[in-house]
Symmetry: C2
Subunit: 412 residues, 2 copies
């Protein structure tokens, strides 16, 4: 499988005429070419579709591309052809064109997000959180059969850099008689990637697992902010609601599935686990449906001069693949549309140090973490800046980065 | 409170120059004036914003109104002024203008629905369903404190008349070892009203209970189709997902809150129940936040010549008011936007005959209902047409109807 996904645009030796794209530390080498929506900072121009290259942005307005959702709706062969054209435009030796420095740009959400669904593919997260919420019953019996997911709120998805007000909500401590309405004292992050849907399917027309890649456009970083004191009181029986929908932060960049092709790995399931039902399984899927993408959580409190990395994980720990969540979502005929966003759920690794949330890192808020400057944290305090980062690396390929997914918590 | 909401547009004696609007049986007398999105059937014209009057539609294109979401975004004083202008245009004695017969029209969703949330305000439904899903624990402890809700799927909301394919999904009978993927055998309806949001609020800026009416634009009928065999296996811990998102049907008409003003009734809570927390309570709210609106479920199987009414309920049975669900939804800062849709949840009455779902009417599928032609049903079979109806009536006022909310189940 792998070979047919790779072409000259993945060649690690290829260089760009944009010097910063050739810096080994850049998130955006010539091999990445992520999409964004940007304008010159402080201007009132409409936002434009752009492509990141080094520390610059290529404006696609002149290419007649003014709506990224329309690009997403195109078949994968056309998306790949566009990648080739972008590569040819930016490769070393091509005539230089005008670019916009990222430092002079401001970003909007990269596309219109019709519906947002958040999955729960991190089994280590599901088990750790389940242990806190349901000590007797941490991993529910459906988890290893059903790619569990729920609908999220589209309106409150914001782009990296947007500050979010600490939510108020109903909280009922276990020993209290009645709930109180007050500012949340347990604001948490969740380390996720978000998958943007490509063409999608019509209502009533599911697709098979081997067609799922056609409907995957690209990935973004996603922080599913959570109010851990609101969540346990409200979530039964219909799932998380106000504990989640006060804000979801994504990075400005969509890294395409084509850029990530070198980092595919086999999708395996432990032999002792239930194997996926036939509609979520195929030989081609097993061959390369998982991804090796490093994920990180960073924190900078108002008293810190530099952020600190709180944990490192990897998308390879997801129990369900991106193709499986796409296929499952549409398996009942639900229509997916270009620009819809599917969160992976919190991707924690098998050890506590690889936790994708403070809830896990602090064992439900009981074990504070100590920061390099001596401060401690269980959950986020006002003014704290939480950032997610991701990158994919592999011997023989250029490193692909995802940019920044940062947010600051404002007082209630 | 009531008086200030009523004006000459509620006068039962007022007549229209549109003869069919003066028929006592019409859903759309001069006092209603519901909005829709329509075009001449079979044409390829763009859809237009219209207002129902008797069996006709007034096209608002000539009024410069081409986007109902923009109307929804206006303050309530402007929405009321528009109602006055519509009333003056259609009242007896005003110059006649061209209308489009409803029989010659086709309808789209009345507006763009950004986010769709479904609440669970029917306590009799919650208790009856809870008893089936959790015999030991039918009404969870949070129910009487939190207006429970969950995010639904916007993309699969369809207008009345759209046929829906029976979904496939994972089903695990309690005695089976492993789940199977197959067509749902337990397709059900849910009798709801949907509230369309008016201006809404910015992210991070909640509003108080006494400002909630400002953000309520109008009501539509809503059938939250449900696959009762998919639901129990998938819904823990994150709530309903594929059991619901294969389709949600709404009527083409939005009946405005202004039209419903005469049918407001006091919001009362049994003295033995917890009273709402202060953010969901006020004297003005208690005065008239509930509504007396009759609701009905109708079924027509392929062998029947006439539909039969399966049950009758009333919105007065909702445990949480429309103002409370709006206020609660935004209480954490979540931004509501013009055209967002908030379902009430299934509104069942206190007796089984007033059940808003087949699940309740048939006691979890164990007691089939017998139809007038001798057929029986537990859940819906292929070809069955399920319809919802609603109307508000009160001595001294014209009856206000909601039009039709019909759907047919196609084979998987």
């Amino acid at each position: 499988m792998l070979d047919s996904r790779l072409d000259h645009t993945h060649d690690a030796a290829a260089l760009s005429w944009v010097a910063s794209a050739n810096d080994p530390a850049t998130d955006f080498p010539l091999q990445n070419l992520p999409f964004c929506s940007f304008r010159r900072a402080g201007s009132l121009e409409p936002f434009r579709v752009g492509v990141g290259i080094g520390d610059q942005i290529l404006d696609l307005t002149g290419w007649g591309i003014t709506d990224l959702n329309a690009v997403m709706a195109r078949p994968s062969a056309e998306r790949r052809a566009l990648r080739h054209r972008l590569f040819d435009t930016l490769k070393a030796g091509a005539p230089e064109v005008e670019l916009v420095p990222q430092a002079q740009a401001e970003f909007a959400l990269p596309c219109r997000i019709g519906d947002y669904t958040d999955f729960y593919t991190g089994i280590h997260h599901a088990r750790a959180v389940g242990k806190l919420f349901r000590p007797d019953n941490p991993l529910l019996p459906n988890y290893q059969w059903v790619p569990i997911g729920y609908h999220g709120r589209s309106s409150s998805i914001v782009v990296s850099g947007t500050k979010l007000r600490r939510p108020k909500g109903q909280v009922k401590p276990p020993d209290a008689e009645v709930p109180v309405f007050k500012p949340s004292a347990r604001i948490d992050c969740e380390l996720e990637l978000g998958l943007f849907v490509g063409p999608g399917n019509a209502l009533g027309e599911p697709f098979g697992i081997d067609d799922a890649d056609e409907h995957a456009f690209g990935l973004t970083l996603l922080n599913d902010w959570s109010a851990r004191d609101i969540q346990p009181w409200e979530y039964q029986p219909l799932g998380p609601f106000l504990a989640k929908n006060f804000g979801t932060t994504i990075s400005p960049w969509i890294v395409t599935m084509e850029a990530l092709a070198p980092f595919r790995i086999p999708f395996t399931r432990p032999a002792e686990d239930p194997q996926p039902l036939p509609y979520l399984d195929s030989p081609a899927h097993r061959a390369d449906a998982a991804f090796d993408i490093d994920l990180e959580v960073w924190l900078k409190t108002p008293s810190m001069t530099e952020p600190v990395c709180l944990s490192r994980s990897n998308l390879r720990h997801a129990y369900w693949s991106l193709a499986q969540v796409l296929t499952h979502h549409a398996s009942n005929g639900c229509n997916l549309q270009p620009g819809d966003l599917l969160g992976t759920g919190t991707i924690s690794g098998p050890t506590q140090a690889e936790s994708g949330s403070l809830l896990e890192l602090t064992v439900g808020g009981k074990q504070p973490i100590t920061l390099p400057n001596g401060e401690t944290r269980t959950f986020l305090l006002d003014g704290d800046q939480l950032g997610l980062r991701a990158s994919a690396q592999k011997e023989g390929f250029r490193r692909i980065g995802f940019g920044a997914c940062d947010g600051v918590i404002l007082p209630a």
